[in-house]
């Protein structure tokens, strides 16, 4: 199994002055796994994620993402991962098609490949009628589904999703998760944060961060057993309340 690890983190730490935002976290994520990265606001999730995607240098520890070292090969990491945040997803004043073409270009795909990918994506998501509309005019749920597909354009080994479903309606939220399952089934590793505890149940394994430390890490089933809880929400409340 060790060859299938796409994220390997050991003792990863980030300090801002004398404040330890991320405190020696250690974990692995396997190929094709859906890994839920949970924690309260301010627990250090975003800081940890920034280190993993190569945009923030750790203070100490080691981490390899898609086989590349976060200290020495941050640029290679960026080429091999997809990233989608809740806040910045796509350009509102470009059309759906223009966004796909733009991000395809950024990822260095050939024109032919962009065209193929673009057509496949439009067909798969049933976007024919809105492909020429400005992204800004679309409902949030659609934007997020398109943003996810765009994050997968360059066939990354891992895709990082930072609260992808916040505020999205319940039906679209579920369609989004079906897309996540599909990507994982095709071998893409999915690293996802969420505040919806029912979504934590959809993950293969879940880690819960409290004050910069990973306090728990296991399958949802085992976590519920360990904390004698009925739902992941109960697990979360027990842990994060300390």
């Amino acid at each position: 199994m060790s060859n299938d690890k796409v994220i390997e983190v050991e003792g990863l730490t980030k300090m801002f002055g004398d404040f330890t935002a991320v405190n020696a976290i250690t974990f692995d994520v396997e190929k094709g796994e859906i890994f839920g990265f949970l924690g309260a606001n301010g627990a250090g999730k975003t800081t940890a994620m920034k280190m993993l995607i190569g945009i923030s240098k750790p203070t100490s520890g080691t981490a390899k993402v898609a086989g590349f070292d976060v200290f020495t090969n941050a640029d290679d990491i960026k080429k091999n991962i997809g990233y989608m945040s809740q806040k910045f997803a796509l350009y509102d004043d470009l059309t759906v098609k223009e966004n796909i073409t733009f991000f395809g270009g950024i990822y260095g795909l050939s024109r032919k490949r962009i065209k193929e990918k673009s057509n496949a994506l439009i067909e798969e998501l049933g976007l024919e009628e809105i492909a020429s509309k400005l992204v800004g005019s679309l409902p949030l749920g659609w934007k997020q589904k398109i943003a996810f597909s765009v994050a997968l354009l360059h066939d990354p080994k891992i895709v990082f999703l930072d609260e992808p479903t916040g505020g999205v309606d319940p039906i679209t939220r579920r369609q989004f998760w079906e897309m996540i399952y599909k990507a994982a089934n095709q071998g893409t590793t999915v690293f996802v944060t969420t505040h919806y505890m029912d979504e934590a149940e959809y993950c293969d394994r879940v880690s819960i961060m409290v004050n910069g430390i990973i306090e728990a890490l296991d399958t949802p089933k085992k976590l519920k057993e360990q904390f004698n809880a009925v739902t992941m929400n109960d697990v979360f409340l027990k842990l994060a309340r300390g």
């Binding site: 924690g39 505020g167 505040h195």
Partner: protein, 300 residues
Amino acid sequence: MSITVVNISKSYKNVKALESISFDVKEGEIFGLIGPDGAGKTTLFRVLTTLLIASEGTATVAGYDVVNDYKSIRNSAGYMPGKFSLYQDLTVEENLNFFATIFGTTIEENYDLIKDIYVQIAPFKDRRAGKLSGGMKQKLALCCALIHKPKVLFLDEPTTGVDPVSRKEFWEMLKRLQKKGITILVSTPYMDEAELCDRIALIQDGKILEIDTPKAIVKHYPKPIYNIRANNMYQLLNSLNGYEHNHSVYPFGEFVHYTDKRLDFNPKDLVQYLESQNLLDITVSITEPTIEDTFMELAK
């Protein structure tokens, strides 16, 4: 009645943001507007807080008309917008002082009302609002919305993007405010928060789908719902979506919530079908509908 809304509509060019919305909120009630992003919740808040004039219909807040008596409403209503709208470069204390002053009051005069919340941010009273964490900003915004002792409190998605622990604490604060006699209209995309309201309106695409108590709303669910589990969630979803008799298939935590089109549905048939799809460890059991189930059924 603390809030009355009668046939309110609002259109922007060719988009109908609100379509003939009507409901009442009783004095001292916590009333929830439950719906996703883009449902029209914010537009409705802006109409009721006199920041936007509706295209059609009438509404009153604390007995005042939202158009004719807008100045009286501003003194009787507290509003916490979805987007953080305090002054980022003023400190916690300065922001609170500022809002108290423009409403002609002082922090001391109404301190009783905000005390529970303010003590949690008091250690940071000299910090600029822009430098606060999300949870702290939310608490400060609530204090500022309460400092003039409003009769009605409008909270537009106060918990979006907030973790489950802070969400729980926030709702405990709302319950305490309710005990002090404040009427609360609150919107949220989290269906589990609906259960904490006295009454709710489910809203989507500018229309109200249903209004009732959370308990009554789930009772209206038209079909038996089954919890289904198997060894592989993705395969299970694909198989259920491909089953010709399915009425709805929605992942729900560790289960899939399933309803069948047939009136004489026998779960054994479904188990057999799933076995034929090579799924293992299949369990099918009847379960209670939730507000989220009801919402999805109505929004379908």
